[in-house]
């Protein structure tokens, strides 16, 4: 009984997501390509963009819905890769590569690593029990309208696509001039995390 209900809820949720996406696509995106009633074929870059965006959404859905925790990690990988690709479309080359390095090289590998350190990982069929489906739906109901409102109502600044310009030097300059204080505060936070990690690891050793 409970199982059927959660399955139904899951499918309903998925259908809602797809409907939202399609609705957004048809009302907001398609009109740009149909300026005077004549269909303009999408360019190569557009196709790649939509492929990346779709992969990001699909990956994110995979993280949430996969019953297998390693598959969730793969979904996260796809979502992060897609995000990096979207950064490239925004001419943010440094940010894209930093996304790859930090999130895939660091965070994702550590997550996979941590997952594999868990108990009974020797068995392949470890499942990711999607607990609290009801709670998840509640959170979704609370957050989704807000996100949609923001997406639709905020007057996003639109720039015509320009040639890719190197951003690395500018990012560096900004970090060390305008945004020096936040930058340093962030590093202090990271330092505190590092020290905290060391302290926690030491405590465990002492307990042994």
């Amino acid at each position: 009984m409970n199982r059927t209900f959660s399955k139904l809820a899951l499918w309903a949720f998925l259908a809602l997501l797809v409907a939202l996406f399609l609705g957004y696509f048809i009302t907001r995106v398609l009109p740009d390509y149909l300026p005077a009633g004549r269909a303009v074929p999408p360019r190569l870059g557009d196709l790649v963009f939509y492929a990346c965006a779709a992969a990001t959404v699909a990956g994110a859905a995979g993280v949430a819905f996969s019953r297998n925790i390693v598959w969730s990690c793969i979904g996260l990988l796809i979502a992060l890769l897609g995000t990096a690709a979207l950064y490239v479309f925004l001419s943010a080359d440094f940010l894209a590569v930093a996304q790859l390095l930090v999130y895939i090289g660091g965070v994702l590998v550590l997550i996979l690593f941590a997952v594999m350190l868990t108990n009974r990982i020797g068995e392949v069929n470890v499942s990711n029990q999607s607990l609290g489906l009801g709670g998840g739906l509640a959170v979704f109901a609370a957050v989704a309208p807000l996100l949609m409102l923001v997406a639709v109502l905020v007057p996003w600044p639109v720039r015509p696509p320009g040639p890719m310009a190197p951003t690395t030097a500018r990012i560096g300059d900004e970090f060390l001039s305008t945004w020096l204080l936040p930058f340093e505060v962030a590093s202090v936070v990271l330092l505190a995390t590092l020290v905290g990690a060391v302290v926690m690891a030491r405590k465990e050793l002492k307990a042994d």
Binding site: D93, V97, V109, P166, T168
Partner: protein, 455 residues
């Protein structure tokens, strides 16, 4: 009974084999060089090609759709060439490594298929293709199947920014070095997934060891990479090479004492990231059977091996770019080559620069191979200690020293030249002393003279 006399091929046949072995992989960069004009960022090459094709076919191919399709075809062609360079280089590298191992271990090595056994890598590849693609019954079959492609992708993506010559580079990204260190992360993901999905304890151990190793050594590698980046003031691979010169005292490795140290930090870390001896813990045969490769067979196993041996090129080429002056041709500055653009001489200098780069890279690749057949394997706690307690602090010291060094160079530009000359002369002496020592050791044990008889 007469002692066994190995079959001896004439010297010219040996030379011919070696020449072919060295040339075959580099046919691909030459083809890439030829297709470079098509891939110019502005798309001019594609437009011209389409116009020509349209004239031949008698249709108008100037529309945006045709242009997009043309661009995609050109990009696919170049990607195809690069991947084939990686595949064929790793194939030939397997053969070369086996021959070197044979000589180092006083045995013969593969010598049947073709001259000097040169075709053995083709035979290996065919064998891999024909073998059964075995998936263990209890494995997560889909992940097990896709894991090799993660590894292959991580490996192939590095070729996007790796230079081959003065103008032979797929894309000179302005975050090139940063890009290389980040895409190799996909290799780790692939190895971790293969280790887990095999549903074998040995494979799981191998995957865990590999992840721990790569995550640890990415940090010293990153720190060491920043030394030449600081010296060149750019993250672009080509800019870093242009900031160096052709002569040894113009190379970054000698222009700054910290860069000399940083090179060894980088080289060690790269060995660890490529799972090469003495850091071959993830596939340690005597401990973990074959680590994450335990359950793989057939073509998927070949994919792992292709990226592993192809990584020898990647790591050597990266070190050559960052520290050894890349493709800089002696007596011909980079700007002078650029000025020749459009003439026949430009093509010639491109080839010369590619040859210079290849020779440097292959020398480093030989060091990698030589280490593998000499050193034992280190233990996992020693591997961690080496990274976190030695290489990371050394990397930080190098980085900070370089910052001050660059300030010093700004004040006294002669500093770099002085350091370059002093360190390169010192390196020369070390190399001479090394060869004298090797010669003495060989004569001490009345070892065999250098001969090519077992070819």
């Amino acid at each position: 009974m007469a002692p066994y006399q190995p079959k001896s091929d004439p010297k010219w046949l040996v030379a011919l084999t070696l020449a072919v072995a060295l040339t075959v992989p580099f046919l691909f960069p030459v083809l890439i060089l030829l297709s470079m004009p098509l891939a110019e960022p502005s798309g001019g090459g594609v437009t011209l090609a389409l116009r020509w094709l349209g004239n031949v076919l008698g249709t108008d191919l100037s529309g945006p759709v045709a242009h997009d399709v043309g661009t995609a075809v050109v990009l696919l062609l170049i990607a195809f060439l690069f991947i084939n360079f990686g595949a064929i280089f790793s194939g030939i590298c397997v053969w070369w490594e086996r021959r070197i191992a044979g000589r180092m271990q006083s045995r013969i090595g593969p010598n049947r298929q073709g001259l000097g056994g040169f075709l053995v890598w083709v035979a290996d590849a065919v064998k891999f293709l024909l073998k059964e693609d075995l998936v263990p019954a209890e494995a997560d079959s889909l992940l097990f199947r896709i894991a090799p492609y993660f590894v292959l992708t991580g490996f192939a993506l590095t070729f996007v920014v790796l230079p081959f010559g003065h103008s032979v580079v797929m894309a000179d990204l302005n975050v090139g070095v940063f890009y290389i260190t980040s895409v190799t992360a996909l290799v780790v993901v692939g190895i971790l997934i293969s280790g887990w999905s095999s549903n074998s304890k040995w494979a799981l151990f191998g995957g865990m060891r590999s992840a721990a190793q790569v995550v640890s050594y990415e940090i010293p590698a990153g720190l060491a990479v920043f030394v030449p980046v600081l010296m060149a003031g750019s993250l672009s691979m080509q800019d870093i090479i242009r900031a160096q010169g052709a002569a040894p005292w113009d190379w970054f490795i000698f222009r700054n004492p910290a860069a000399l140290v940083a090179f060894f930090v980088l080289f060690t870390s790269q060995l660890a990231e490529a799972n090469r001896t003495p850091f071959d813990l993830p596939e340690a045969e005597s401990e973990l059977v074959a680590g994450y490769l335990s359950e793989y067979s057939g073509f998927r196993f070949a994919l792992f091996f292709m990226s592993e041996f192809g990584n020898i090129w990647v790591m050597s080429a990266l070190a050559t770019t960052l520290f050894f002056g890349g493709w800089q041709v002696p007596g011909m500055p980079a700007a002078a080559i650029s000025a020749l653009k459009g003439t026949g001489a430009w093509w010639g200098w491109q080839l010369v620069s590619m040859a210079v780069f290849a020779v440097k890279t292959l020398l480093l690749a030989n060091v990698v191979i030589w280490l593998r057949w000499t050193l034992p394997r280190i233990r996992i706690d020693q591997m961690m200690t080496l990274s976190w307690k030695y290489l990371v602090p050394i990397g930080f010291v190098c980085l900070i020293f370089t910052l001050f060094w660059q300030l010093g160079v700004g004040a006294a530009p002669g500093l770099e030249l002085a350091s370059g000359v002093a360190l390169s002369v010192g390196a020369l002496f070390v190399v001479i002393a090394f060869f004298r020592r090797v010669f003495k050791n060989v004569t001490d044990v009345r070892g065999d003279a250098i001969d090519l008889s077992n070819w």
